[in-house]
């Protein structure tokens, strides 16, 4: 029986195959090599920059010379609490909160449809429909919205054709959120933020809803839960991690954005614009850094709170 095949084959020839075969027998080494580049990137470039930023925020600026004084002080953080700056923080956080809430409400039915009912071509259409806006330039989209929302814009024209101009005017007449036209009001800023960040809410929410077994909803109905109760007690808690993931995107992206409020909205500053101004025009890098620390702290608090409320229990 000399023609029998060997029970164990000879090692593969060549340097690379040999190296690969060797590496696979050392799982620790393999994992180490895999995570090394990203660890270096995150550890040095990203965390390093963050630490540099944190340090900057504890410096201050000499008001006469405009030079950064490299001495530890909380003076810069104190400046954040000045009414003008506090306004900026409050305005930004409220806007981010409103955008996040609205995005969650709007995204849910879309994500639910995609996760539960869409099949074949409808599923493809869903993905394309949600992702398509992300393929075009952010600036183009924002300027397009400017055209939609402007006083001579498409929306005004539609309202006029429907003889509903009075309704739009009444809305714009509302204090705080209204304004001369939608393109120079908080309502306009809100609409554009909502549009721009909505995909970032839909995708994680859809991913979470796909993982809710339909059997659980049947089980809830079987045990006597009417549709509202099934939604509240089963679907919502199980989709919550996805919703929190989405809200991290919508919330933090709105907190940091400085372009949308510059193009659409009134001239009141948002946090991102303040950072941009302090850093560029004013040259007050410590204050810019202190402003930047705020979203990080807010997000930290938000996640901590979400965790405390059991948002990640279903993970």
């Amino acid at each position: 029986m000399s023609t029998e095949a060997p029970a164990i084959f000879a090692p593969r020839p060549g340097l690379l195959p040999r190296l690969a075969d060797r590496l696979l027998r050392r799982p620790r080494m393999f994992v180490f090599l895999m995570v090394l580049p990203i660890t270096l990137w995150l550890g040095i470039v990203y965390v390093g920059a963050l630490i540099a930023l944190l340090i900057q925020s504890f410096f201050s600026i000499d008001e006469f010379s405009g030079m950064v004084v490299r001495e530890f002080t909380l003076k810069t953080y104190g400046e954040l609490l000045r009414p003008a700056n506090l306004d900026i923080l409050l305005r930004t956080v409220v806007m981010a909160g409103a955008v996040t809430l609205a995005a969650a409400v709007m995204a849910f039915p879309i994500a639910y449809f995609a996760a539960r009912y869409a099949r074949g071509i409808w599923k493809a259409l869903f993905y394309v429909g949600v992702m398509l806006p992300l393929w075009s330039s952010y600036l183009v989209k924002v300027y397009a919205w400017k055209l939609v929302l402007a006083k001579e814009g498409i929306l005004n024209w539609i309202f006029a054709k429907l003889h509903l101009t009075w309704a739009l005017d009444a809305f714009l007449g509302l204090p705080v959120i209204g304004g001369n036209s939608l393109s120079v009001s908080y309502a306009g800023t809100f609409l554009v933020f909502l549009y721009i960040w909505l995909p970032y809410m839909i995708m994680p929410l859809q991913a979470a809803l796909v993982r809710v077994p339909p059997g659980l909803i049947e089980a809830a109905a079987d045990l006597g839960a009417h549709p509202g109760q099934s939604f509240r007690m089963i679907i919502l808690p199980l989709a919550l991690p996805g919703m929190v993931a989405g809200s991290i995107f919508t919330f933090s992206l709105t907190l940091g954005d400085y372009i949308v409020p510059q193009i659409i909205g009134n001239s009141r500053l948002f946090l991102g614009q303040a950072v941009y101004l302090q850093h560029g025009t004013a040259g007050n890098i410590p204050l810019a850094a202190a402003f930047t620390v705020v979203p990080i702290v807010v997000m930290g608090l938000y996640l901590w709170g979400a965790r405390r409320m059991g948002a990640f229990d279903a993970l």
């Binding site: 059997g215 049947e218 089980a219 109905a221 079987d222 839960a225 009417h226 109760q229 279903a314």
Partner: protein
């Protein structure tokens, strides 16, 4: 007495597929009823029709004399033990069990007490604080059972409840299910493809194939007097042999013969052993008799012939059961 569940000419079609096709059925109050059949035979769809997850395409379903037409699951006093248990992953065992009471608006303290009671019923006292994910398959099965029983439903539906359990656990759970049903006096409807399970647990069994009931009767009737070749073959893997070989009936007819009713007998007919499989209590022989394949179960005490051997086999005529022509 009103029947628990009545099917009158019930059909459920999915496009061209007739999952359930003109089924008539009456499940009595307080009985343990089994729906037995291969996968795709319509038994699970029947269960889902009773639960309310499906509505019949045609026909009428009554639950305790009341029409169930258009009634959603949450308005039916019927609870289900699901095949994969369908426990809520974000709740602990106690909240899972108490869910049915929670949606009915019962206060926290009361429903937790009721949940503890239900858990005691399935011998899971003290497991209330655990997560469903921390339980073994058998324990999850018990939680699903407790959850289905806590609403005191009029009918309990069990969809292949023991399918995922290993043999030993399955046998133990079968005994417990039977005892629980007897104790509570509730109507149990069990869907299974395991004929042993159906025969050993149920008061009556309906054998399903291709959306229709092929035979309905007590386990003994089904096993001893199968109505058709399909039932004979599916329940207990009977030998279905032509009348000429069996020695009864007219040519063209078929008879069923249980493998355990074939014995080795020097005075019998000559057959050839084609295979031998040791099963512990019995040895299974596959035989060829006048061109006909047969299987026989020989008690372990007896010496079984090797594969390839020539043997003589015989059976008593009273063990033969003549089958009616296939519908």
């Amino acid at each position: 007495m009103t029947d628990a569940v009545t099917f009158r000419g019930v059909s459920r079609h999915f496009g061209d597929v007739r999952a359930v096709d003109r089924v008539d059925l009456a499940i009595r109050d307080g009985e343990f009823f089994a729906m037995l059949g291969p996968s795709g035979s319509g038994k699970t769809t029947c269960l889902r029709l009773i639960a309310g997850f499906e509505q019949p395409t045609a026909g009428e379903i009554e639950i305790f004399g009341t029409s169930a037409r258009g009634v959603p699951p949450y308005l039916r006093n019927v609870n289900t033990v699901f095949q994969n248990y369908a426990l809520f992953p974000h709740m602990n065992v106690r909240d899972n069990v108490a869910f049915g009471l929670r949606v009915r608006g019962m206060g926290r303290r009361e429903r937790h007490a009721a949940a503890e009671e239900a858990l005691a019923l399935v011998e899971l006292s003290g497991f209330g604080a655990r997560r469903a994910g921390e339980l073994s398959g058998g324990q999850r099965q018990r939680v699903a059972l407790a959850r289905a029983l806590i609403n005191r439903p009029r009918v309990v539906l069990l969809d292949e409840p023991l399918g995922a359990l290993d043999l030993k656990l399955r046998e133990q759970m079968q005994e417990e299910l039977r005892a629980l049903q007897a104790r509570l006096g509730l109507t149990f409807v069990l869907v299974t493809h395991d004929q042993d399970e159906a025969l050993s647990l149920a008061d009556r069994v309906a054998v399903f194939a291709e959306g229709r009931i092929r035979q309905l009767g007590t386990p003994a009737q089904i096993y001893r007097r199968p109505a058709s070749r399909f039932v004979a073959d599916f329940v207990g893997s009977s030998n279905v042999i032509p009348a000429e070989v069996a020695g009864i009936g007219a040519p063209g007819q078929w008879a069923s013969l249980r493998p355990e009713d074939i014995r080795l007998d020097p005075a019998g007919q000559a057959a050839r052993v084609t295979g031998r499989f040791f099963h512990g209590r019995v040895t299974k022989l596959t035989l060829e008799l006048r061109g006909q394949r047969l299987s026989a179960l020989i008690p372990a005490q007896q010496a079984a012939p090797e594969a390839g051997a020539e043997v003589r086999i015989a059976w008593s005529p009273e063990h033969l059961h003549l089958l009616e022509a296939e519908a």
